[in-house]
């Protein structure tokens, strides 16, 4: 082996294929003999999935593939649509801390697309938990924060390539304790300090944006006059708010309390703005009628509550109660670690609230897909949809299950067996290299030391043996 190749091997192996592991270059892949959970229809025992390019071509039994196809025998493993996490802050430069612009009350002008980091290792670890798409977003520091985006976890691609094509842009709002900064002990006190104030600040910026739009309309009417007026100043923040008023963004509103959710829905109606999803919404189970009537989803936790004052008045049954009443519910991570075990969180809704298997799995597949406006492409296993697929060794709701393989766009981007094989190889190479280095050092030492005739004498017979 050439030395340079040897040098880079360790990196190449440990970087765990920043490009697709298998199926790279193959246009056709056949997943054979799996227990297929389609979500949209009934499960297929011992079924096959034929993938052509990036899409699912066919699902059923005894599917024949072309002679060139890559065939993967699943040996009865469980197959489900790739998991979708509708609320997260990974793949951002600066981590979760970088996801908040706290310097102003309203920061609609900031955009997480500007800080995407396609090399965040959490992306790969999420794939290891069967996750294939996420919504990465601004934090909850401000009543209206920055814009977010849906990503496909195309590990090894650049940031622009990871953006979910066709997914609408989102904007983060936040109500309650966080924008109030009620847990801040240091720093300059910031308006608002009450829930009323939070809502008032949203109303105020709406009014400002209306004035801004009017100023531009007036200018455009007069700009060809003989006496040319000065144009209004461009304000990037108000331009985004104006687009919010025009309905360009999916509004993702962080809220815990029932009262503040009711109140913000009223405000939005007043301005002709539609909320898409409440984030967390732990008290949503108390106002299911209103949520359904308004038509808003809730992206929530399975059993994570009580971590602050506004997160007490709930229970682990909350998600299931809302789902059963017909509210569009998703279970999200909000955290790089929880992201890797969302299937277990889904299982909890069966124990607490009695959802069926299909209902539970919907919370991490088609429902978040609907919230993000990408259900045309992902969220179920159906012909014509993207081949975003997670393979588990047991049923994904089994407490002992493990994700074995994850595909995005028909490419295997995580393969557990291969991952461990690669680690082993890397360890072996490192060992070899270390030994080589040691030997070289020994040699150098020996040549540096002047031979002492006595020691040579005593060592000679040993060498002979």
């Amino acid at each position: 082996m050439k030395q340079t190749q040897f040098k880079y091997l360790l990196i190449n192996i440990l970087i765990l294929s920043m490009s697709a592991i298998a199926a790279a270059g193959k246009d056709e892949t056949l997943l054979k003999n799996g227990n297929i959970i389609t979500i949209s229809g009934s499960d297929i025992k011992g079924g096959d999935i034929l993938i052509k390019g990036t899409r699912i071509e066919k699902i059923g039994k005894n599917i024949k593939a072309g002679p060139e196809a890559l065939v993967i025998d699943l040996n009865g493993k469980w197959v489900m649509p790739g998991i979708i996490d509708s609320h997260s802050h990974i793949a951002l430069e600066g981590g979760v801390g970088g996801a908040n612009e706290g310097g102003n009350l309203i920061t609609a002008e900031v955009d997480v697309k500007d800080i995407l980091n396609s090399e965040d290792y959490n992306i790969f670890l999420a794939l290891a938990g069967g996750v294939t798409a996420i919504h990465t977003m601004h934090g909850s520091a401000n009543p209206i924060g920055g814009r977010g985006i849906a990503l496909k976890l195309r590990w090894g691609s650049t940031a622009p390539e990871m953006i979910f094509k066709g997914a609408p842009e989102t904007i983060k709002w936040a109500l309650g304790e966080n924008p109030k900064q009620s847990s801040f002990s240091a720093g300059k006190p910031r308006y608002p300090k009450t829930r009323m104030g939070v809502e008032a600040s949203i109303r105020a910026i709406f009014e400002e944006a209306r004035d801004y739009v009017k100023a531009w309309d007036d200018y455009n009417k007069k700009k060809d006059n003989k006496v040319k007026p000065l144009p209004p100043k461009k304000d990037l923040r108000l331009e985004v708010i104006a687009d919010v008023l025009r309905g360009k963004y999916l509004i993702r509103c962080h809220a815990y309390e029932a009262e503040e959710m009711l109140s913000i829905m009223k405000l939005c109606k007043e301005y002709g703005v539609k909320l898409a999803v409440f984030e967390h919404g732990l008290e949503g189970y108390r106002i299911t009628n209103e949520l359904i009537k308004y038509g808003v989803g809730v992206s929530t936790f399975a059993d994570f509550w009580g971590y602050k004052w506004e997160a007490f008045k709930t229970m682990p049954h909350s998600a299931a109660l809302m789902a059963k009443r017909g509210v569009l519910i998703a279970l999200n991570s909000d955290d790089a670690e929880r992201m890797r075990r969302l299937y277990l969180d889904a299982a909890k809704t069966m124990r607490f609230g009695g959802l069926s298997e299909n209902e539970a799995l919907r919370l991490i597949t088609i429902n978040p897909a609907k919230m993000l406006g990408v259900d045309k492409w992902v969220g179920t296993l159906e012909p014509g949809k993207d081949a975003d697929i997670a393979v588990f060794n047991r049923h994904p709701l089994d407490p002992y299950t493990l994700c074995e393989m994850t595909m995005v766009d028909g490419k295997v981007l995580f393969d557990r067996a291969k991952y461990f094989e690669d680690r082993k190889k890397a360890a072996e190479i490192k060992k070899q290299k270390d030994e080589l280095k040691k030997a070289e050092e020994m040699k150098k030492k020996e040549s540096e030391q002047k031979p002492d005739p006595k020691s040579i004498e005593t060592q000679a017979p040993k060498g002979g043996n």
Partner: protein, 540 residues
């Protein structure tokens, strides 16, 4: 402060009224030089095997095969030596001494942070804060560097750069181009104020440029129409930015990783700026297609560290150290291969030793020596827009040269002379001339008490390399660096050029070292304080 120290300060103050020139220790300069029989590399690739360089009044008068050597020239025998254009450090802040920022805790509660504290300081000029010291200049000279671009590097609008010829400590004379480059960084300030995040910084920059564009439009309409136009409010901040925004001058983006480079290209092309990339993170090689398409020249820092955002930094020590050993040092080689124009920056390697040392490592990783030398000379000059006066050995250009034994960047080469603005600097070798072999190692920190009625406490931090000493001296009034101290047997000798209250003067220290104890005399040159005895010991 003790009374006697007060007396000392008083003395210093009194001396300030004397003409400053009395203390200046300018190089005795001969204004005409002829270097003959020398290998002249006019620029990498264009070589005169044996030629003559004539230097007059700070400029290159002639460089070529043959010339009548002027009668008034002092001749340097260049046989066996090679002359290159003086090297250029294209981006650094190591000789910038910014005023110490006082942390005012009350601001945490008032939130009254200034624009400067928020990192918005286009008005800060490197020229005002550059600290040109003899010791500092010597450090650069030892590595053949004769010109340095100095730039403030903190915040979003970091400030304006100036290019200095490393010929003297008087910045008024040393400066070549003043305020010729504006730094733009992506680091949000650590104080609570907008913007306090990376995405906020980008949004802020976009709004700022929109505001500057509006200000330009408004001002020009006011100037042209006046009647019927509300006059614009004067904005000092925008006035500083305008020449850079309109492309009259260049901006430089400080990029901490490959993502920053993409951001810089996006903003640079969106606002049609004339821009350079400073690759602080050393990841330019990871975005070569984008860089190539942008056409932006790059200044490469030589830290060879994997940025925290990189995949190589997130999978354990082994991957990281291997990447930093094998991949990151190949940055410049990969750029050279792709035909991207670059210069080198001392930003991550403020010690010039390491700057040149790491360029040599880059050469080991496949960077052609000629390319490296181009980056240090002609390419750096072109990127900074100073190729009419620097970068090659041609008549009419500033006489900045490096003359070495053996080609520079070869392991055994030695810089013999450096010319900066036609002033000759002899590079001493590591061995003290005529001294005995050192019998002591004085490396470390020493605390000495000066007696003789002064009772002055001074700390010396010393690095000993063979028989040469360098380091810094700290006393209650200042901290100054020194180089070229010597050890002979167990005796040390060093000179510190100190700067206190605007006065520059030399302090001579000689002493005898025994174990961890030292004693000797200290002389405050030109201060009329005479010599005093001191004793001291090595402290941990």
């Amino acid at each position: 402060m003790k009374r006697r120290q007060l007396c000392f300060l008083l003395l210093l103050t009194l001396l300030m009224i004397l003409p400053a020139a009395a203390f200046s220790a300018d190089e005795a300069l001969h204004s005409v030089w002829a270097v003959k029989d020398c290998k002249i590399v006019i620029q990498p690739g264009r070589v005169i095997e044996k030629g003559v360089i004539i230097i007059r009044d700070g400029l290159i008068e002639y460089a070529g095969l043959n010339a009548v050597i002027p009668a008034d020239a002092e001749i340097i025998d260049g046989a066996g030596l090679t002359a290159y254009a003086g090297f250029i450090d294209a981006f650094g802040d190591s000789i910038l001494k910014m005023p110490e920022e006082k942390n005012d805790p009350s601001k945490m509660y008032s939130g009254d942070y200034s624009d400067k504290e928020r990192g918005i300081a286009p008005e800060i000029k490197a020229y005002d804060f550059v600290n040109l010291t003899k010791a500092g200049i010597t450090k650069f000279h030892k590595n053949g560097i004769t010109a340095a671009l100095v730039i403030p590097s903190k915040g979003i609008f970091t400030g304006q750069a100036s290019l200095f010829s490393l010929s003297q400590t008087v910045k008024e004379k040393a400066v070549i181009f003043k305020d010729n480059l504006l730094g733009i960084g992506f680091s949000a300030s650590s104080v609570a104020g907008y913007p306090d995040s990376l995405m906020g910084v980008i949004a802020f920059l976009k709004q700022e440029f929109a505001d500057v564009a509006y200000y330009i439009m408004h001002t020009s309409r006011w100037e042209n129409e006046m009647n019927g136009i509300i006059r614009p409010e004067y904005k000092a901040e925008f006035e500083e930015i305008i020449p850079f925004f309109t492309g009259k001058k260049q901006v430089v983006f400080l990029c901490r990783n490959q993502n920053d480079i993409i951001r810089a290209i996006k903003i640079g092309s969106e606002y049609k700026l004339k821009y350079l990339i400073c690759d602080i993170g050393g990841e330019a090689f990871r975005v070569i297609p984008e860089l190539k398409k942008s056409g932006a020249p790059v200044m490469l820092a030589l830290g060879f560290k994997s940025p925290i955002t990189s995949i190589y930094s997130q999978q354990g020590k082994d991957v990281r150290s291997e990447a930093e050993r094998e991949l990151y040092p190949s940055n410049s080689a990969r750029l050279a291969e792709a035909g991207i124009k670059f210069a080198f920056s001392s930003y991550s390697t403020p010690e010039p030793d390491k700057f040149l040392g790491n360029i040599m490592i880059a050469v080991e990783k496949g960077l052609p020596t000629e390319k490296a030398l181009r980056a240090l000379t002609v390419d750096a000059a072109a990127i900074l827009g100073v190729d009419r006066v620097l970068g090659t050995i041609e008549s009419g250009k500033i006489a900045n040269l490096v003359i070495s034994q053996g080609d520079p960047l070869l392991k055994d080469s030695k810089v013999k002379y450096v010319f900066a603005d036609g002033i000759k600097f002899d590079m001493k070798e590591k061995k003290a001339e005529g001294g005995d072999k050192p019998t002591v190692n004085v490396s470390g920190k020493w605390e000495i008490m000066v007696g003789g009625g002064m009772e002055l406490k001074i700390t010396l931090e010393v690095i000993q390399e063979e028989s040469m000493l360098s380091g810094k001296m700290t006393s209650f009034y200042n901290q100054d660096e020194f180089t070229d101290g010597t050890v002979s047997g167990n005796e040390i000798n060093l000179v510190v050029t100190a700067n206190a209250m605007g006065i520059t003067f030399d302090i001579y220290v000689s002493g005898v070292v025994e174990g961890d104890n030292i004693s000797g005399t200290i002389t405050f040159g030109a201060l009329g304080l005479g010599s005093s005895e001191y004793t001291g010991k090595r402290i941990p």
